[in-house]
């Protein structure tokens, strides 16, 4: 078995623990928390509450018999199908394509990816106390772009076959996986409070085309590759409250999830570069590096109401502080911070600790709102619908193929079957419609000084995603 085959198998197993492309967010930025489907929200009482609002694990499920203790086990899986494209026309910042390489840096890059993501959790209620644990992936994704068949087996140029978008993304994964424990207390059956502690494993593993001066030169200097593979463990926490303002009729919830690491995250690993030259037999280098980044806090709020026994209505939303995601900076292992000035050039006195690569993000705070409802045809059969909107976190100036975001609206519909209080299963489909973006002439990335300069990312961005969600819950 070749290395590629090995890696493919392992990569796919790994991908099973991840959701989506980095750019295929189901919410703003690259937030992907949609586990639980329409039943994952800040007033829910199933184990997805461990993330959305830990107070929810102490809530009783309407219609369930009052018991001294109760266990809920929840397993969830999403299958996401994503189509995306980026079309770029030659700009003033592009290095002219050499003879025979026309179409190497201009045209359309496309992908169609299908990715699965699991979530699992369990809660244990003892009278008014509740405890729980869960695994989920609220941030992240992966992408693999199609090849540019025009350059397959090209006799002169090794790089362009990886697509016109290769200067920003060829393939890769970015993700933060959570293992979380939570506790909650239900005060007089009217107000629940809860808190969670998260252990977060974050990884960035991506490859892009690159030259040392940050341009999209194909031949002089020769196009190369940079592959970063870093990871790290961090902690975070969540807190929440749910008020049952009308007994078994209306619930209001609010929660807060702190950013992983509670601030700046440091991911350690390797940076592999290959800046080729025909005069040198082996131009590959590898060095130990750290990636510095910051992920957002998430504030959530929601209302759930059961005006009549057969109907439930839900409205909820989130605010995600993507404004803290201002850069992804790769620094030498010996460095402690990203030493760049206001124009993102390395500080003059940075010396050997100067950043090796700094991808400017400058994202902004984003929000999402969602409304939906359920109708019980009979107590065992629930039909549910939902619709929502997510705002865009990424300005035109720094939008690039590796991490994209759009204004989007989504609609969902599904069915949940219950077999008494013990077993329930749900299946739903959500389609996300993304408003296309045209940032031609807007990209600031090529105007920055090295090491922050990257090729012009202006162009037309399109995307659409379909998500099939399935989950089961066992309660006893």
């Amino acid at each position: 078995m070749t290395r590629r085959h090995h890696s493919l198998v392992l990569g796919c197993l790994g991908a099973g623990a991840v959701l989506m492309t980095s750019t295929g967010a189901l919410a703003s930025g690259f937030a992907t928390a949609r586990f639980g489907g329409e039943h994952g929200h800040p007033t829910t009482d199933n184990p997805t509450a461990i993330y959305y609002n830990p107070a929810g694990i102490a809530e009783d499920t309407p219609g369930f018999e009052k018991k001294f203790w109760r266990v809920k086990i929840f397993a969830d899986a999403n299958l996401a199908l994503r189509w995306a494209s980026w079309s770029h026309q030659t700009s003033q910042f592009d290095v002219p394509e050499p003879e025979g390489a026309q179409g190497a840096n201009s045209g359309t890059g496309e992908l169609f990816n299908a990715v699965t993501a699991p979530m699992a959790g369990a809660t244990f209620q003892v009278e008014n106390f509740a405890f729980g644990a869960a695994f989920f992936v609220p941030f992240g994704g992966q992408s693999v772009y199609d090849k540019n068949e025009q350059f397959t087996d090209n006799p002169n140029f090794a790089g362009p076959v990886d697509g016109v978008q290769r200067w920003h993304s060829i393939e890769g994964i970015i993700r933060s996986m959570y293992i979380s424990v939570a506790a909650a207390y239900d005060i007089l059956d009217r107000v629940s409070i809860g808190a969670s502690l998260n252990i977060v494993k974050s990884d960035v593993d991506t490859i892009r085309a690159r030259t040392a001066n940050g341009t999209n030169s194909i031949d002089l200097p020769a196009e190369g590759r940079s592959w970063i593979d870093v990871g790290g463990w961090h902690a975070s926490f969540g807190v929440g409250v749910i008020g049952e303002v009308a007994p078994e009729k209306v619930w209001i919830g609010a929660s807060y999830q702190a950013r992983p690491g509670l601030g700046q995250m440091e991911l350690s690993g390797t940076l592999n570069n290959n800046f080729p030259d025909p005069a040198v037999a082996d131009t590959k280098t590898v060095q130990n590096v750290k990636l510095i980044q910051e992920l957002p806090d998430v504030f959530r709020m929601g209302v759930r109401a059961r005006p009549v026994e057969k109907v439930e209505l839900r409205v909820f939303g989130d605010v995600t502080t993507w404004g803290v995601f201002d850069s992804q900076c790769v620094i030498p292992e010996s460095a402690e911070e990203c030493l760049v000035d206001d124009n993102y050039a390395a500080l003059p006195d940075a010396g050997a600790n100067a950043p090796l690569l700094n991808i400017v993000r400058n994202w902004g705070t984003a929000f999402g709102v969602r409304a939906g409802g359920s109708y019980w045809v009979i107590p065992e059969v629930e039909l549910f619908l939902g619709a929502g909107y997510d705002s865009n976190a990424i300005p035109d100036e720094t939008l690039e193929v590796a991490l994209t975001d759009f204004h989007d609206v989504s609609v969902a519909g599904g069915l949940r079957l219950a077999f008494g209080e013990i077993f329930a299963a749900a299946l739903s489909y959500t389609h996300l419609f993304y408003v296309p973006r045209d940032t031609t002439g807007q990209s600031e990335l090529p105007t920055y000084e090295p090491p922050s300069r990257t090729p012009d990312s202006g162009g037309e961005y399109t995307q659409t995603i379909g998500v099939i969600n399935a989950n089961v819950q066992v309660s006893f």
Partner: protein, 222 residues
Amino acid sequence: MRIARPLTFMLLAGSAVLLAACPDTGASFDDFAARYEEINPGTSSSSGVSACEVPIADDAEVTGDWLFTLSARLDPKQAFVLNASITAELQMDGTMLVDMTLVPLSADDQMTPVACPAITFEDLLVNADGTFAWLLAEDTAGLTLCGAANPISGGDILPGLAISGTICGGATAGFVCGPVTGKVTTPIPNFDLTGSTYTIQKISGAPPAPVINCDKVPAEYM
């Protein structure tokens, strides 16, 4: 049985769809290197240094200020530029000993000295036929080119550095060029400079524009 075949096909198709989305960054990195190697089978450069047709007759031809341009293969046209203050002394056997002090010039204008330590070399040997091969810094103890003079990344560079060429009189007087070898230790450990070039141009009056190689290709800056 009739339904088994379509079901099998659907399962295989579904699996293929899932596999298609699996990133394999390491393989992608290696695939690129393999494609490049196939297009450009590995070669090694030679210095190609040959003796002068017209050797230096007077060390005064060499003594003075020169413009030293170092073109790294990472980004050949954005070359480092340094002022080289040279003192040469012809020896009785026709060889020449050279003292050279390099002062890095700003990456912004290639003219202004930057606040970095000067780099000094003494007793560099030029053979009687004008050829030389100078090991300016061992790979393990590279000299420091400070970030302010680095037009590529703006960070400090610690290269091991060796240059070779000829210092001649006659038609080529005042211009020296050739290949650079050595390995960088910072910021890219073990980065091989082979394939890089340098030039040294005598300054007589206004400084010349930096050129990156023996073909006198002009340096270009963003």
